[in-house]
């Protein structure tokens, strides 16, 4: 169990029992070349080219980068900068469907016969990135640096953000495939001990998982850990702390304490890429909040968020905000005409909160310090940012902040603490 964090109302019942539904084949997709952490992909198609589903349209731009595939079949009608849900712009490939739904040939493989480096190469070519939101290229994570040893593989099924239920549904409906995926990852990183971490609000997954583990041929020690419901349980570092009581040193990676952590949907994507030859062209996301019909949808990458909101009867009107991702760390978008990315975990329509117009003074209650899961002093960092003392923010370890939002959630004065921290990081990086 980790110290700090907050208990949140989870709002998951809105979409928890909605089966994953396939969203209609889009007429047009906008596929950005920079959907992942790292270097953007290089376009390899031209305006006017004909592409089919699963065809590479963006080539990997470096080691920390990813391939981009077309998610539909049709014609490239434009290549231009487009707004992303992260409020940045990226060069994007616009493809118009021809309605034929053609896709590349799917190559079946036996994963048991593959070597570790072959698996990693397949994952790389399938354009798989972390689907929990951060979108870090998965092949990089699977490539264990020399001299490091992986003791444990952790599968992150916490989904600690309120509203989101897509990972829960995937784990429930594709249990066998996820477990196959776990075995493939374990082979790629050469590890025998696996933990699957789920929060206690998903306790009904326990029999499902156990049943699946009984019926499949398992080569590993897989243990399921039910963790208390506490935000941010799904943060990599806090998951490791909760399950193994190991603390990832500041500024280091999970591999430094012998762990690798993978998200549920990433695991599924790896299984499909390796066994079925399907590159990453779609993902499951949750559309919830003030929408008429909350749903878990399987969506082609590049589908416009406005179309999904329409389908779920989410009326965008005054006093409502659109958030991509979860409510705690998600990003509010100004315009719903942005595409779904590989890392888009959810689309939420939330009410605009009544927050004070001016920034209120800090009353120094210390609640943010008490609950900060990284043991920082958000209130003090905020005060220094207000006075432009960014050097002091660095001294107070602002770069260790994971931006989970607990501090701003709990603050009685409703101070925009995450805003302050992001601002400090930006200013310090520019220096």
């Amino acid at each position: 169990m980790f110290k700090g964090g907050v208990k949140l109302l989870d709002f998951k019942s809105l979409s928890k029992d909605e089966k994953i539904e396939e969203f209609k084949y889009p007429e047009k997709v906008i596929i950005p070349l920079s959907q992942h952490t790292g270097i953007p992909a290089k376009p390899v198609v031209k305006k006017g080219d004909y592409v089919i589903e699963g065809q590479v349209i963006g080539e990997i731009g470096g080691f920390i980068s990813s391939y981009i595939h077309s998610s539909i079949s049709g014609k490239v009608i434009d290549i231009l900068p487009w707004n992303l849900p992260t409020n940045r712009k990226s060069l994007s490939i616009v493809i118009e469907s021809d309605g034929e739904k053609k896709s590349i040939e799917k190559k079946q493989r036996e994963w048991l016969k593959l070597e570790s480096n072959e698996i990693i190469n397949i994952v790389r070519e399938a354009g798989i990135v972390g689907l929990g939101g951060a979108a870090f290229p998965t092949h990089v994570k699977l490539t264990i640096p020399e001299g490091k040893k992986v003791d444990f593989l952790l599968i992150n099924g916490c989904e600690c953000e309120p509203f989101l239920t897509c990972d829960y549904r995937v784990l429930k409906e594709f249990t066998d495939e996820v477990i196959e995926g776990i075995q493939i990852i374990a082979k790629a990183v050469n590890v025998k001990d696996v933990f699957i971490g789920i929060e206690s609000n998903k306790i009904d997954l326990l029999p499902v998982l156990r049943n699946s583990l009984k019926n499949l041929k398992i080569f590993l020690n897989i243990e399921i850990k039910v963790l208390p419901e506490k935000y941010p349980q799904g943060s990599e570092k806090h998951l490791i702390k909760s399950i193994l009581n190991r603390e990832v040193p500041s500024g280091r990676l999970p591999i430094d304490v012998g762990c690798v952590v993978f998200n549920i949907q990433t695991t599924l994507a790896i299984k499909r890429a390796v066994c079925d030859g399907i590159p990453l062209t779609e993902r499951v996301l949750t559309c919830s909040g003030l929408v008429g019909k909350p749903k878990n949808l399987k969506v082609k990458i590049g589908t416009l968020i406005s179309e999904i909101l329409n389908y779920c009867e989410g009326e965008v009107k005054y006093g409502r905000k659109i958030v991509t991702g979860g409510p705690m760390m998600g990003i509010q978008i100004a315009n719903p005409d942005v595409p779904v990315l590989k890392g888009t975990t959810g689309i939420l329509l939330l009410p605009e909160e009544k927050l004070p117009e001016d920034i209120q003074p800090c009353i120094r209650c210390g609640k943010c310090i008490e609950i900060c899961p990284m043991f920082l002093m958000p209130s003090e960092i905020g005060r220094y940012v207000e006075h432009g003392r960014y050097d002091k923010c660095e001294y107070l370890n602002v770069f260790d902040c994971i931006e989970c939002g607990c501090c701003a959630y709990i603050c009685p004065a409703k101070r925009p603490l995450v805003d302050f921290i992001k601002c400090a990081k930006l200013k310090l990086r520019k220096k």
């Binding site: 907050v6 949140l8 570092k237 603390e247 990832v248 040193p249 500041s250 500024g251 280091r252 965008v316 009107k317 005054y318 006093g319 905000k321 958030v323 409510p327 705690m328 998600g330 990003i331 509010q332 100004a334 315009n335 939420l348 939330l350 605009e352 909160e353 927050l355 001016d358 209120q360 003074p361 800090c362 009353i363 120094r364 209650c365 210390g366 609640k367 310090i369 008490e370 899961p373 990284m374 043991f375 920082l376 002093m377 209130s379 003090e380 107070l396 370890n397 260790d400 931006e403 939002g405 701003a408 959630y409 709990i410 603050c411 009685p412 004065a413 925009p416 995450v418 805003d419 992001k422």
Partner: protein, 311 residues
């Protein structure tokens, strides 16, 4: 161009229902038992004192904001809390005009001149009391018998005064000390009623146990060591009121748990020093003000170790 439907906010997009005003409201609620008790022990006059003090605080805050030409008048209820707390540490028959001056001093001088809520160094109510004690020593030390509701009630020494000066008068029974039937300031006498409020605040997580417990324990342990009457030391004077309601003031106490414990111990030691070796029978007010000055230093040396800093 589509019109912006909503302002763009940074994450998180959920916030707890806690607000500054709500916290102040909880503090006011928690003081109601002690206020009702004081009316029972000292008569309806104390309500006048509380009323004048609160009105003076609220008007001073308003006056300051008008003088400073603040765009928007900020009202979060903190001045009401200061007003009540100030009244509770005044003697029961204090002339009303002194209470009025006290409210002005607390808000205008101690709080607003330092930058308003969140920026004052000293506890406003206690500083105002300290200034009043220095300015009006006679009126500020005139304590009366309980249940004497007349305006010119018979004066009576406080238990701590009796112990300190060894005067020939019997101490109230421990039971009377506990329920509050003893001479003292308006709101400080009843341990039980103050504890009810304190438990309410603790349950609402408005305050944490760190300051009050370390403060009271320090006084208790020192009393044991120096062979003082432990329960009279704890329940006499303003220790319960000070430890739970004054020392825990957010702005003027350290921000980390470790710092809060250091602060509490410091307050305890100084309170005991003043009571035992100083010129006054009571030291809660000065000890808290004294420790207020150490808050920035304590904060500086109690920065928590960040996650992953072991090894």
């Amino acid at each position: 161009m589509k019109e912006n439907l909503c302002k763009i906010y940074c994450s998180p997009h959920l916030h707890s229902s806690e607000t500054t005003t709500k916290i102040m409201f909880y503090v006011i609620l928690s003081l109601i038992p002690a206020i009702l008790g004081s009316v029972y022990f000292f008569g309806f006059y104390v309500l006048n004192v509380i009323f004048v003090s609160v009105i003076s605080c609220v008007l001073s805050e308003l006056l300051f904001q008008i003088l400073m030409k603040r765009r928007k008048v900020l009202f979060d209820g903190s001045s009401i809390v200061t007003g009540i707390l100030l009244a509770l540490v005044l003697p029961p028959r204090i002339p009303l005009w002194i209470a009025g001056i006290g409210g002005f001093l607390a808000i205008f001088l101690v709080k607003e001149l330092f930058g308003g809520i969140g920026f004052n160094i000293f506890n406003p109510a206690l500083t105002a009391r300290a200034i009043l004690l220095a300015s009006f020593p006679v009126e500020m030390t005139k304590f009366i018998n309980v249940f004497d509701y007349s305006v010119d009630a018979v004066t009576s020494p406080t238990p701590l005064f009796i112990m300190k000066e060894n005067i020939n008068q019997s101490l109230p029974s421990l039971w009377n000390m506990f329920i509050g039937a003893r001479a003292g300031c308006i709101g400080e006498t009843s341990t039980i009623l103050l504890l009810i409020g304190a438990i309410f605040l603790l349950s609402k997580k408005v305050i944490t146990w760190h300051i009050p417990i370390s403060y009271i324990l320090t006084v208790a342990i020192l009393s044991l060591i120096f062979k003082e009457k432990v329960f009279y030391q704890i329940m006499g004077g303003g220790l319960i009121l000070g430890a739970f309601f004054m020392a825990t003031d957010y702005v003027t106490s350290p921000i980390t748990k470790k710092g809060k414990i250091i602060f509490g111990i410091g307050c305890g030691v100084i309170t005991f020093l003043i009571r035992k070796a100083g010129g006054y029978p009571e030291g809660v007010c000065y000890s808290i003000l004294f420790m207020n000055m150490f808050v920035p230093v304590i904060n500086r040396y109690t920065i928590p170790k960040k996650f992953g800093s072991k090894k």
